[in-house]
């Protein structure tokens, strides 16, 4: 359907990249280079998770973070994950469990060569930020069997009612002070430097302002960004290793300038196949993307003129768009609040409210749920969320199923068929409304 629209798009052989994407690529490459040299240069390495990550605190000790989910998704995008998963299953890991875990374990068993082809250093510390995902706990228990290093455990209570209670914050603070920071000090031989942390948090907050501006730009019609497929690039530095760094700040300034220019020009987002033509459908997305066929998955949307104007996945590393900022005046408290507020740490009613807000705030025509097999934290309850959102907003929802990094669960024909049918339905509703 809608082939004329596709023809309007430029179609270079290689994916078209924005300057900010190139900058990010360079940053990530440098980070993996730094990791490869870390132990030679006497730097310590911390393995930790994206939701509830303590990047500024880690960097204030001059340590470098490694994020296994990022490695897994990068392996998925580079078509390496199938072999890694097979390797893990060969070692007795069930076909039923999270494929991020299996991708990570498989990568480790095959030599722990990172996505850029350089060997990752073993961790000096495993920082288990148990935030919004039960699997994290078992994941690091498994890694602890592979590495002879200490583990710092940070349990972040679930926000079932969507609120951060004082005793939740106190619990996190207590763990930061008596478990996490002492282990950082022990591993690095350095003292906790709160002034350094404050300075990093100040940089974080500035970058967060720019990220929020970019996410909010999707209120424009046409939206200058795709807040899901493009959004995963936009959150990359913020959710991984670059919060609180000058490079992170520079990235978000560059990104903002880029998006500002598109708004001025009335342009839509850049896709891997080039500048998007006419914006035909504005969608809200719930759930993580599939990484093994990421470009193909995106194409199923953009070739129909469907643009994602807001997504929940881009909030797994923090809900900055709802007002949270890292705060240098209350450094550890704001880290505690940050951890608590990550999307998958929020109860289902809060998640429904957030998506409802997005549908209204970004004037979406529809919403779609990509339910991934690997992630119960995201997926359990999504069918109820679908009904709730339709009832509350009157906007129709679509539902597709895939996986994070296991290509066996990405059925391209089925998914494409569902997306096309869903968009046709939106079109018919629109036509009916116009006639009424």
């Amino acid at each position: 359907m809608n082939t004329s629209l596709s023809k309007k798009q430029t179609a270079p052989e290689d994916a078209q990249k924005e300057p900010s994407m190139l900058l990010q690529k360079q940053m990530i490459g440098s980070h993996y280079d730094a990791l490869a040299r870390a132990h030679e240069e006497g730097r310590k390495v911390v393995y930790t998770f994206v939701p509830g990550n303590l990047t500024e605190l880690i960097r204030s000790f001059d340590m470098l973070p490694v994020l296994p989910e990022i490695n897994a998704l990068q392996s998925g995008m580079r078509k390496l994950s199938a072999d890694y998963i097979a390797e893990a299953e060969k070692h007795g890991h069930s076909e039923d469990v999270c494929t991020y875990v299996k991708c990570d374990i498989g990568m480790l068993k095959k030599g722990n060569v990172g996505p850029t082809g350089k060997k990752l250093p073993p961790p000096d510390l495993l920082l288990l930020s148990y935030t919004g995902c039960f699997t994290f706990m078992k994941w690091f228990e498994l890694l602890r069997q592979e590495y002879d290093c200490p583990v710092a455990m940070l349990h972040v209570p679930y926000q079932a009612d969507g609120q951060i209670h004082d005793h939740h914050r106190d619990y996190i603070l207590q763990q930061l002070r008596t478990e996490v920071i002492p282990k950082f000090e022990q591993v690095t031989g350095r003292r906790y430097d709160e002034d350094r942390l404050r300075e990093m948090l100040r940089l974080s907050a500035q970058a967060e302002d720019d990220l929020v501006w970019v996410l909010e730009s999707a209120r424009n019609v046409p939206s200058p960004i795709d807040a899901y497929f493009g959004g995963v690039y936009y959150i990359g530095p913020m959710f991984s290793a670059f919060r609180g760094t000058p490079e992170g700040l520079e990235y978000y300034r560059t990104l903002r300038r880029e998006v500002e220019a598109r708004v001025r020009a009335g342009l839509g987002p850049i896709t891997p196949e080039g500048q998007l033509g006419k914006e035909r459908y504005r969608l809200v997305m719930e759930g993580p993307p599939n990484w093994t066929s990421f470009r193909e998955f995106w194409k199923m949307f953009h070739e129909e003129g469907a643009v994602v104007v807001a997504s929940s996945y881009t909030k797994v590393g923090g809900l900055y768009d709802r007002g949270f900022r890292h705060d240098p005046s209350r450094p550890l408290e704001s880290l505690a609040d940050y951890c608590s507020g990550c999307y998958t740490n929020l109860g289902l009613p809060t998640r429904v409210e957030l998506l409802e807000h997005y549908i209204r705030h970004f004037r979406a025509d529809g919403f779609m749920i990509n339910s991934v097999k690997s992630c119960n934290s995201f997926s359990v309850g999504q069918l109820l969320m679908l009904r709730q959102l339709e009832e509350r907003t009157g906007v129709p929802g679509g539902f597709i199923e895939s996986d994070l990094v296991d290509p066996r669960y990405f059925s391209a024909a089925n998914i494409k068929n569902r997306i096309e049918s869903y968009l046709q339905m939106l079109e018919q509703k629109r036509a009916a409304k116009a006639q009424a």
């Binding site: 469990v97 039960f134 078992k138």
Partner: protein, 390 residues
Amino acid sequence: MKPALAEIVNRAQTLFDDLDLKAVHAWKEAEPGRKAIGHMPIYVPRELIHAAGMLPVGIVGGGDRLEIIRGDAYFQSYICHIPRSTIELALSHRLDVLDGMLFPSICDVIRNLSGMWTILFPDRYVRYVDVPQNFDPQAGGTYWRHELEILREDLGRLAQRPITDVALRQSIAIYNENRSAIRELYEARSEQPWFFPTSEVYLMLRAGNVLPPEDHTALLRAYLQQAPLEDDRSDQDQSRIVLVGMFCELPPLGLLLTLERAGCWVVGDDLLLGLRWLLAAVPTAGDPLGNLVDAFLRHSAPTASRYMPEGGRGRWLVESVRRNNAEGVVFCAPSFCDPALLEQPMLIAALDRAGIPHTQFKYSEDTGQFAVIREQAGTFSDSIRLWSQA
């Protein structure tokens, strides 16, 4: 089976078969104003519910006797079975008798189910019981005390009577008795499994989900007394095994019978772990809430849903095998059960290091075909007996 034992087992079987919670209805109707609070596996502080004068009711899904009509519409195919049958029970009004529902932090499925409950049943009391994964008294202990204080206040409000320290101490004593009786049963089964087949022990435990603890303790003690009087129960050439992985979604009774028929004496398991979560008696003197907190931090059962660094679970499993004089381990986990399946490779590594044989298979609470399981368990049992004779 002698009449006295038959009566006990039949009573437990009737409670097991009753998906409409008639026993809970009967308990509530016996006295006006009584209330019942449901809870999912594994651990909730049932003492608090009891001290409020309410009945704690363990909800463990619908097993293999419930037709799922609406539940499947709420869950994708790759999610375990217990949430869909639990939703089915609720949507078919079988859980209307419950005045509230607690969802402990077992895994992300049960966690999200708490949110679904809040949305679907906005007029009922729902609480996610987020137990600490940090067992330091200053950190996890302080946090857990706050959580218990909130729960105490909520339950008192629901019961329309505050939970006093005196009442809570009494409830702690009653549950100490109950846990003690369960421990005795497990020890008796470990010593003489032919008198206490697990298919019966399981029924006895399940009765604890719906009976008041005082009645349940009495039932257990009666069973402990009567079962060894059966003349036709004698030791047989069966292998002694520990079962692992059944702590949340429970197996169909037929599966446990199949294991026994395949030549396995179950001498250790993690069935209905919540009933025996606290491994030591909780002191009845002093600050009762503090005692519950301390017991949780110091005496919680090791299980997959707990953070156990440094190979703690593996060591515990090996110890459990040795303590029960078991000869092997059967990993028997529900399909798509993250906690059980994620930790299996770690446990297997620990068993391999200790030279303990093991086998594994998966089930669902509504599994109806046991031929493959019987063959696998039988082969496993045979191989153990052959090795031990060698």
